[in-house]
């Protein structure tokens, strides 16, 4: 995978790695700075203590024998290897004795501790350097020559205590800062090393961890692009590792499946609308056209208009049913559910349909005893049940014996079953029975009966809304429509 730097930086993995690296680096630098400054202060304090001791010793020598003894002691100490810095100058600042050849101007003019480290040059150092320079001159191509020179010019850094002797001469006792400087250099080097390793570690983590995640995400976006491109049956890859990515993919796949179902439903509805609503609309239009053309009596117009109203009313009913089914299938709002007594619902609907059944010569009987409470919407359950009872009355009229419809209520396990059974011809074909709850499906023999073909689909949608199911079972003879509700938990 060849990616340009800006492209890499656009990935979350790289950004996170960079961010973590910066944060850690900042912390490390701050910590190291704090520690070095602390150590440097301690070293300085130590140096000052040493100088103080020296000064005390020198003061004793001065007390013992005055200036000549002091000068002698200073000279002796100056020659010792790794000696401190000693300098005695006259009132004009002219160096009289000591091991300091030259120093920054102005250092000996103020008494007390030098506020800043100053640079100086020791006796004998010039010689050493000159020797080194001559050696370097012999092979001129040697790089770094000037650097050495520059460093030599600069000399060393030191801190010192400047005192005025009782005879107004100036004495300086100091100590080279070489040790703390070296310490700083070591710290600086190890800090650079640590930062370098952290950067490398960050890169490695990004490469192995970040890029693996990146690849997974890329494969997911790749798959979604394919799906968006029209391959609606496509699914996101699941590796089987069971990690977050798999869970994400599984959930997205479930969502895609749900969308596909809804989409399928929508497609079916639009097909059905196109097919089943166009017919009555065409009829409506033809009737109006036929009435307008030619001469008619007023009563004819009246009749045509009344027919138009009746037809549009039927259309509105059909539309309402379609809308309601869609809303129920889309989830509806669960706000409108409460405790519903199914026995009472059955009694109400049976009572509502009893005269209709009697007029059609159908015996409508119900056996509902006991407490059958479900969580639901009384209105919707009533509507579903009345659609089913309505159908049962219509289709029981072709019974061989006395047509009868029986409504029964019972409990099977955790399910409350409300069944409506007729003794008509039923739906002998299994496939037909399965299709009967689909929208607008009107089985061959029902074409002669009035209705939109939505009654059972609406009942089915209502049962889905109640987390229940609608089953069509053969009753031999006849058909048994069973509404299965999950029993209400007692709280």
């Amino acid at each position: 995978m060849a990616l340009s730097l800006p492209a890499i930086m656009r990935t979350t993995a790289a950004r996170l790695s960079a961010l973590y690296f910066l944060l850690f680096a900042l912390c490390a630098v701050l910590l190291v700075l704090y520690m070095t400054s602390l150590s440097a202060r301690m070293l300085t304090a130590q140096t000052q203590e040493t100088i103080n001791d020296e000064v005390l010793g020198l003061a004793r020598a001065y007390q013992r024998g005055g200036l000549p003894v002091l000068v002698r002691v200073v000279e002796a100490r100056s020659r010792q290897p790794g000696a401190n810095l000693y300098l005695i100058a006259d009132t004009n600042g002219q160096i009289l004795t000591g091991n300091v050849q030259s120093l920054e101007p102005g250092v000996i003019e103020t008494e007390g501790w030098t506020t800043e480290p100053f640079s100086y040059r020791r006796f004998g150092e010039g010689e050493l350097e000159r020797q080194r320079n001559t050696a370097a001159d012999q092979n001129e191509t040697q790089p770094g020559q000037n650097e050495v020179q520059a460093e030599g010019e600069k000399g060393h850094n030191a801190i010192a205590l400047v005192l005025r002797l009782p005879n107004q001469m100036i004495m300086l006792v100091g100590r080279d800062l070489g040790e703390p400087e070296r310490f700083r250099a070591v710290i600086r080097r190890s800090l650079m090393l640590a930062l370098g390793m952290m950067g490398l570690g960050g890169l490695l983590i990004w490469f192995f961890v970040g890029r693996a995640a990146l690849k997974r995400i890329d494969s997911v976006s790749e798959a979604s692009r394919r799906i968006m491109g029209g391959d609606l049956s496509g699914r996101l890859p699941v590796t089987g590792a069971g990690d977050e990515f798999d869970r994400l993919s599984e959930n997205l796949n479930a969502m895609l499946a749900r969308i596909a179902t809804l989409n399928e439903g929508l497609k079916q509805v639009s097909d059905n609308i196109a097919h089943d609503l166009k017919t009555p609309l065409t009829r409506l239009r033809n009737r109006a056209e036929a009435t307008l053309s030619g001469k008619h009596k007023t009563t004819d117009y009246r009749q045509a208009l009344e027919g138009t109203i009746a037809e549009s009313e039927q259309l509105i009913k059909t539309f309402n049913a379609i809308l309601m089914i869609s809303r129920l299938e889309a989830g509806y709002s669960s706000e409108s559910t409460s405790r519903v007594d199914l026995a009472a619902a059955v009694r109400d609907v049976v009572e509502l349909y009893e005269p209709v059944a009697e007029e059609a010569g159908v015996t409508l009987e119900s056996s509902v005893e006991g407490d059958f409470a479900v969580n639901g919407n009384r209105e919707l359950i009533g509507q579903a049940l009345s659609n089913i009872v309505d159908n049962a009355i219509k289709y029981s009229t072709d019974a061989t014996g006395k047509p009868a419809v029986r409504v029964a209520l019972g409990r099977v396990g955790g399910e409350i079953r409300l069944s409506v059974t007729d003794n008509g011809q039923g739906i002998p074909d299994d496939a037909d029975r399965a299709r009967a709850t689909e929208r607008f499906v009107r089985l061959e023999k029902s074409r002669s009966q009035p209705g939109s073909g939505l009654g059972l689909s609406l009942a089915n949608a209502i049962m889905t809304f109640h987390n229940g199911r609608l089953d069509l079972l053969p009753a031999n003879p006849g058909l048994s429509v069973v509404m299965g509700f999950p029993a209400r938990e007692n709280h």
Partner: protein, 240 residues
């Protein structure tokens, strides 16, 4: 079955009403204004919620017809506002939304009845007449009388011309509702809503069968019809 039928326009409604229509669809509002005038009522139209509220607050209307979705102030807020100011004018809510929840929120906001668009004007007219506050004083009466028909709400007894008529409980409630609104057109959906407490459209016209059964009981053996069918609208209980 011996049943006299009237067309809705032939019915003489009892009294003229002053109706406020709050509806933003100009065409629908004009149609309502004209149709109410033809039925013998006076209708005023407000095109938005704010105007409607001002008119309703100032005027003395018998019934208001309020659309739910209105510019400037929505219908439910207009009704709630009026109710909080002590205005008790009956309100019929018109809405394109027709699900159970919408109806419940509408009635909770202070509406007295709810009708879903598209609706038949005969349905709207019948409901508005029933809502009319000057006519709805019968709630408190214990005995309803229409001609020689008498219904006692306490003893649950019905007699016509001093002859006792036995009714099933639901038939009693059906007759009770018809008698409370005697002289007014009562539609099938109004009966289904008020007597059975269902708000859906049954596939078969079950109400017709119930009414004809009731009619058989209260008219059979008596010379005068009392329960009339109003074509294209519904039923009306009326003596003479």
């Amino acid at each position: 079955m011996p049943a006299t039928t009237h067309s809705s326009s032939e019915i003489a409604y009892n009294g003229s009403m002053k109706i406020l229509v709050i509806e933003d669809d100009r065409e629908a509002a004009d149609y309502l204004e004209k149709a109410f005038a033809e039925a013998g009522h006076t209708a005023h139209v407000a095109g938005d919620g704010e105007t409607g509220f001002t008119l309703a607050d100032a005027g003395d209307y018998d019934v208001m017809v309020v659309d739910r979705m209105l510019p400037r102030r929505d219908g439910l807020s207009v009704i709630a506002g009026l109710r909080s100011r002590g205005n008790t004018t009956p309100v019929l809510i018109l809405s394109a939304l027709g699900e159970v929840d919408d109806r419940v929120t509408g009635l909770r906001a202070g509406g007295d009845d709810y009708l879903t668009k598209p609706y038949a004007f005969s349905e709207l007219l019948a409901r508005v007449e029933v809502l009319n506050r000057r006519a709805s004083a019968r709630e408190a009466e214990t005995v309803y009388r229409v001609g020689d028909l008498e219904l006692d709400r306490l003893s649950h007894s019905v007699r016509r011309a001093a002859r006792e008529i036995t009714l099933q409980p639901r038939e009693f409630r059906l007759l009770e509702y018809l008698m409370r609104h005697a002289g007014q057109v009562v539609t099938r959906t109004m009966l289904l809503e008020n007597v059975w407490d269902y708000h859906f459209d049954p596939q078969t016209n079950v109400i017709d069968v119930h009414v004809s059964r009731l009619r058989g009981k209260i008219e059979k053996g008596f010379d005068k019809p009392i329960l009339h069918t109003v074509r294209g609208a519904g039923y009306m209980l009326k003596s003479g």
